[in-house]
Each structure stands twice: as C-alpha cells, then as structure tokens.
C-alpha cells in the first residue's frame, strides 16, 4: 500500500510539473464547480426570456448577450455544463466499467469465450463511432439517456480491445505465472496483478475520450437527436444560434468556444496523466 502511495505521489509531482495539464485541471475544476452550482450562481433562469432577442454581449444585464429567445447566454452556458459533462463522462465511465469486466474476462479466460466476446466487439468496431451513435440515437426517442446509451455502446469496443490486449500481456509476465504456480486463484490474480496494471492505460485513454465524447454528444444534440430544447446544452446552443449567424454570431461562437476549451482540457489532462504514469517519460 505504501509503495502505491509513493508512486502516486511521484506521478502527481510529474503531472504538476506539466503546466498545461495542471492548468487544464484547474480550468476543469472550475467548470465542474460552476456546473454543480449553476442553480445558485446563474444570473437568470436559463429557460426564461430576460433580454432583447439576440441581444449583443455587454447589453444591459447580460454579459454574454442573449440568444434567439432572449435567454441569458451566460446562464445557459452554466446550466449547459451539467449536460455536457454528464454526456462526456457518463458514457465513458459506463463503457469503461463494462469493457473492463468484459475485456478482463476475455483476456484472462481466453479460449472460446475470448473468441466470442472479441468477435462481438469486432462487429461493433466495424461501425464508425459517430455513425453508430447517430443511428442508435436516431431510432430511439431523443433525450439525455438515449445519448448516453448510444455513445456508451459505440465506445465500448475501443476500451474493451485495450483492456483485453493489456490483460493478455500482463498474463504472460513471469511474476503472474509464478503467482499462479504458487496456487493463487484466478480472481485473486486478476484483482492483485492484472487490474492494477490496467488502471494507468485505461485511465489515460478514458480521460482523452471524455473530451471527444462531449463533442460527439453535443453533435447529436446539434442534429436534434440528443438533448431536447429548451434544456440548455452547448450543442443545442450552437444549433439554435445558426439561424441568426450573421446578425448575432456570438450566440453560436460562445458555446463552441467552451466546447473546444473543455475538450482541450480533457486532452491535456490525458497527456499529463500519460507522462506522469509512464515511468519512461517521467524521467524526462
């Protein structure tokens, strides 16, 4: 246990040395905080018309202006953060947990079980991720849970493959074979040796994916297949502004910029984690 703590500490030092990753982490922490506190800190009700339609930024009372229904963009960005983060994180976590179990089982048990699981994974893998998410969301009733389900399914094979490959690699390590020879049970080996080795690569991968999935989720909303108006969602905000793109570009630009920044942050954090957890790179 002590040993693990020391590694974590080292990793954290390495991570903290990386300015971009640290900055991204702080930025994200602020975004998460804002989203959680949205009901308390939003200047206005995100669904209520409070200003002139498409009011310019800096107009009275609305710092970032108002959208086509006269709703405060800042408040909607705050509230939209909840959905964006949920749509980014929930499917990634769900797909990761599911894939972890599936991939570990497939990799460890091997044989026909592995074959069946991996062939199923191959099939899902044969669809481009965005296409599969769009089609699943498209045939189901639109809504936040549909988005989460659609993205989870589409994402699953990517993580499952990573988990399974890592399991196979670790399984063949001498110390695992030694443990097995020493009479350790399957579950014990998985929990004691394989799972800890799994955490870093999966964690890195999943973190990078969250940003990407946020972009995909907002895209589904943009197409009208995801979150439904009047709920505030960054993708919907972009979609709602495009009718008045020329007259009031700020309605489209602000939510887009926020999506880019948040997605970027997850990317930086993923990179930072990789550098921190990879012993080879840590030395640099």
């Amino acid at each position: 246990m002590r040993f693990h703590l020391r590694i974590l500490k080292l990793a954290w030092y390495a991570y903290a040395k990386d300015n971009a990753a640290l900055g991204a982490l702080i930025f994200l922490a602020i975004i998460v905080l804002i989203s959680l506190l949205a009901p308390l800190i939003s200047p206005y009700d995100p669904a209520a018309a409070v200003a002139d339609i498409a009011a310019q930024p800096g107009s009275e009372g609305v710092i970032l202006g108002a959208d086509v229904d006269g709703r405060d963009i800042l408040s909607r960005l705050f509230w939209g953060g909840r959905i964006a983060l949920l749509v980014g994180i929930a499917p990634t976590v769900a797909a990761t947990l599911f894939s972890l179990v599936l991939g570990l089982a497939a990799g460890y048990i091997g044989g026909w079980f592995d074959q069946i699981v991996m062939r199923i994974v191959d099939v899902v893998f044969a669809f481009p991720l965005v296409l599969l998410a769009i089609v699943i969301a498209g045939v189901l009733e639109p809504g936040v849970w549909t988005v989460i389900l659609a993205i989870s399914i589409a994402l699953m094979p990517y993580i499952a493959r990573l988990v399974r490959t890592t399991t196979m690699n670790v399984k063949q390590q001498p110390y695992v074979e030694a443990a097995r020879a020493g009479g350790a049970g399957g579950l014990a080996i998985v929990l004691r040796y394989i799972l800890p080795n799994m955490i870093p690569p999966v964690l890195i991968f999943a973190t990078t994916l969250i940003g990407l999935m946020m972009v995909v989720g907002s895209g589904l909303s943009f197409l009208g297949l995801g979150i439904q108006p009047p709920d505030a969602d960054w993708g919907i905000m972009v979609a709602e502004g495009r009718g008045v793109l020329r007259k009031a570009p700020h309605i489209t630009i602000f939510p887009g910029v926020v999506i880019v920044l948040v997605a970027l942050s997850f990317n930086f954090i993923g990179d930072g984690l990789r550098d921190a957890l990879d012993p080879r790179r840590r030395s640099r």
Partner: protein
C-alpha cells in the same frame, strides 16, 4: 502479402455477418407504426394490413432477417418508406458524393498534417512549433459542425467567395470546376480535425526517431538536417503514421455526416439524417450498412498497407497470432 490479405478477408466474413444483424435489428428499436402514415388518414385496417405484408412486417423476426439478408446479398436493399424507391438507387449515388468529399478531405488532412508535423518537428519547442501545435490542438478539438458554421459565415456570407450549399450550382452549373468550388468549404471543415491529429502524430514520431542514436551519429557526421529528416526520420516514422491516417479515415466517415448537413452536400450522411427525421427505416439501414462496409474496407486496406510497410506484422500474422 496475398496470403495476408486473404487471411484478413476470411476474418472479415463473421464481422460482416454481425454488422448485418445489428443493422437489421435497428429497425426494430424504432417506435411508431409507419403504415398509418403510408396508408393515409382514411385508410382501413385492411389496407394497412396489406401494406404491412408488402413490407414483410407481419413475419417473425428471424424469418424477416433471413429474407432481408437474402435480398441484401442480391443487391436489393429494400424500398424506402419515405421515398418509395429502391434504397440502393437512393444510397449508392450519394455514397459516391460522400466518397469524393471524404477522400479529398483525407488527402488534404494528410498533406496539411504531414507538413505541419514535419515543420514543427524540425524546430522542436521553438515558438513556431508551439504556435503550430497550439492551433492544431484547438482545431482538433473543435466540433466539426461548429467549425463549419464559422467557415461558412466568413467565406460565404461575409466575403461571398464561395457557394454555401450543395455540390453543384443547382440553377444550372456542373462540371469539375463547379464541384471543386462547392467542395472547398466542406473539405476544409472535414479535414480540420484529422489534419491536426496527423500533425501531432507526425511530430511525435519524428521527434522519437530524431532522438535515436543513429540519427545523432548522422548529425555528428555533419549530414544536413533536411537530408536526415528525409532519409532517416521520415521513412522510419511512417508505419505509426499510416496507422493513424487509416484511423482518421474512419473518424472522417463519421464527421462528414455533420458537414454534409451543414453544407447540404448530397452525400450519404445527409441522406441518413433526412431518413432518420422521416423514420425511414429501410433507408437508415441501407445507409448505415453502406458506410459500415466502406469502413470495413478502409480498415482492411490500412491493415494491408501496414503489413506491406512493416514486415513484422506479416510475420506475426503468419505465425498464427491473431
């Protein structure tokens, strides 16, 4: 090489089978009874039942599947519910349009990504490196639908330089030049994210190789930097780059859906979106199947190119490790 490809093809068959099952099942996830809409407001149950039978909706699922698969294998993708025409006639011409957009975007992405990556790798950690990498990071994370809107706002609406919609001038254009003009904006939008990812991987691979001992030796011997870059670094950095490029094609086939909607590009993504809005299940199935097939073929091609560039893969394949 041929044996490698043949082996891969055999492995693809069960995957295709699975793909067909998923595409088939999509139809049965969907809510709503299409016959009501088809038969019109005053239709009797008899008329509706007839329609249901003509669409084969009255049979058991496995029977429907086997019949459906049989038709698909003969190139019959069924009849579009919204358009009452063969789905194949609807989907294939549009797939060609999508292929034009996707391939030209991929080419553009590779070219931009490649040069940006090499440019940055040649002067690592310099100011220009940081600028290039910063921009690629931003663009790489930008939602394609958002980027497309900004591009069309600037280029078409404010500067009035290029046409905003479609693939040809609908009022009587046509010809390669017309198509090219219409292609530029969607192509830029589609290429942005993949270009950035390619740039990053090119830069990373180049830096990795440049830090290898044999490159250091070459440089110590006084060989010019550009020659080192070209002769040593590029060639050795190629395999991982090709893999990423292949993956990008897949990403592109997804991202292109958004771009087609925004620019009214008459591609399969636009068709799919309209079919989804009309709940036109056979068309949704046909479009999904065609894109998935294209994706499988792209993956096969990438595998083959990789194996060609990197003999180790071929060897391991032959040794029987799957």
């Amino acid at each position: 090489m041929l044996r490698f490809i043949a082996g891969r093809l055999v492995l693809t068959i069960p995957v295709l089978f699975g793909v067909s099952v998923i595409v088939f099942l999509l139809a049965h996830l969907a809510p709503g009874d299409v016959t009501t809409i088809l038969a019109g407001p005053f239709a009797t149950e008899v008329v509706k039942e007839k329609l249901r039978i003509s669409f084969g909706l009255d049979q058991a699922l496995p029977v429907q599947y086997i019949k459906w698969l049989g038709h698909i294998l003969q190139g019959d993708f069924g009849t579009s519910i919204a358009n009452r025409r063969d789905v194949a006639d609807l989907v294939f011409p549009k797939f060609v349009n999508t292929a034009i957009l996707a391939l030209s975007s991929a080419l553009l992405a590779y070219i931009i990504g490649f040069f940006a990556g090499i440019f940055a790798a040649a002067r690592p950690y310099s100011f220009s490196d940081r600028i290039v990498m910063g921009v690629t990071l931003m663009l790489g994370n930008a939602p394609p639908y958002w980027l497309g809107l900004l591009i069309v706002l600037l280029i078409s609406l404010n500067w009035r330089l290029l046409p905003a919609t479609g693939m040809t001038n609908i009022m009587g254009g046509g010809g390669a030049w017309d198509v090219f003009l219409h292609l530029i904006q969607p192509m830029l939008t589609t290429a942005a994210a993949p270009a950035c990812i390619v740039a990053r991987i090119v830069r990373a691979s180049m830096l990795e190789i440049l830090s290898q001992n044999y490159v250091r030796v070459a440089r110590a011997k006084g060989i010019r930097r550009s020659l080192i870059l070209r002769r040593h670094a590029l060639r050795n950095a190629l395999p991982p780059i090709v893999t990423i490029c292949g993956l990008q094609l897949g990403y592109l086939l997804g991202g292109v859906l958004f771009v087609e909607v925004i620019f009214a590009w008459p591609g399969i993504g636009n068709q799919l979106w309209q079919a989804i809005q009309a709940r036109d299940i056979p068309t949704i199935q046909g479009a999904t199947l065609v894109i998935a097939l294209a994706f499988v073929v792209v993956n096969l091609a990438v595998d083959a190119i990789n194996a060609y560039l990197d003999p180790k893969i071929r060897a391991s394949e032959r040794a029987g490790a799957s």
